[in-house]
């Protein structure tokens, strides 16, 4: 069945350092979304990637979709304490049109 692996599970960084989380799939993806969940909060949509090799930027956040559409990454430049939270990738679920499968997430902590 469809599997989505997200690494690392945890990342601790010093404020100002960069951070990257990776999402890998066993199958080709039609699209992928990214969400952020702050501690004690609910997931909030960040971005959607659809095209092969697509790169999108949101201020210090850079999202990439692999050429083969089997992997994706989120890179944060110069982390800030406001970046703390868990980042989830969520590609479309195979065989379930309109549905997503969430990765286990990468929990980011930032030391000031």
């Amino acid at each position: 069945g469809q599997q989505v692996m997200q690494i690392p599970q945890y990342q601790h960084v010093q404020e100002g350092e960069d951070f990257t989380t990776y999402c890998n799939s066993s199958t080709t993806l039609s699209n992928i979304q990214w969400y952020k969940q702050r501690p004690g909060g609910h997931p909030v949509f960040l971005i959607q990637l659809v095209k092969s090799g697509e790169v999108k930027k949101q201020k210090r956040l850079t999202f990439q979709f692999g050429e083969a559409k089997k992997n994706s990454s989120l890179h944060i430049t110069a982390t800030q304490t406001t970046d703390v939270g868990t980042y989830f990738c969520a590609p479309s679920r195979e065989g379930s049109q309109g549905n997503l499968i969430f990765g286990k997430g990468t929990k980011l902590s930032v030391k000031p």
């Binding site: 699209n31 969400y35 949509f45 989830f88 309109g98 549905n99 997503l100 969430f102």
Partner: protein, 114 residues
Amino acid sequence: GAGVSQSPSNKVTEKGKDVELRCDPISGHTALYWYRQRLGQGLEFLIYFQGNSAPDKSGLPSDRFSAERTGESVSTLTIQRTQQEDSAVYLCASSFTGGLYEQYFGPGTRLTVT
């Protein structure tokens, strides 16, 4: 409404009791999703509604779990004969339609089974 709302926000129940969780999606959103999130864990998909039909309910963990939706509006998730392992935050999300639209999450219902 302004966003997805869920009630109750917290629910403590005794093992063996039934509970009903409610989700009010954003008006006009045809797709509705239920997830379970155990402490410190990821999102576990439970069921997906498109309108009032459920094309994917593969995530319901047992026949103690059921859900229904009235039209393109309110949904209720019912857990019968609750067990301690059912303790978790139950999140509801809605989207304009499925697939390429972002999901908007509610604040969740924290269920504690004692």
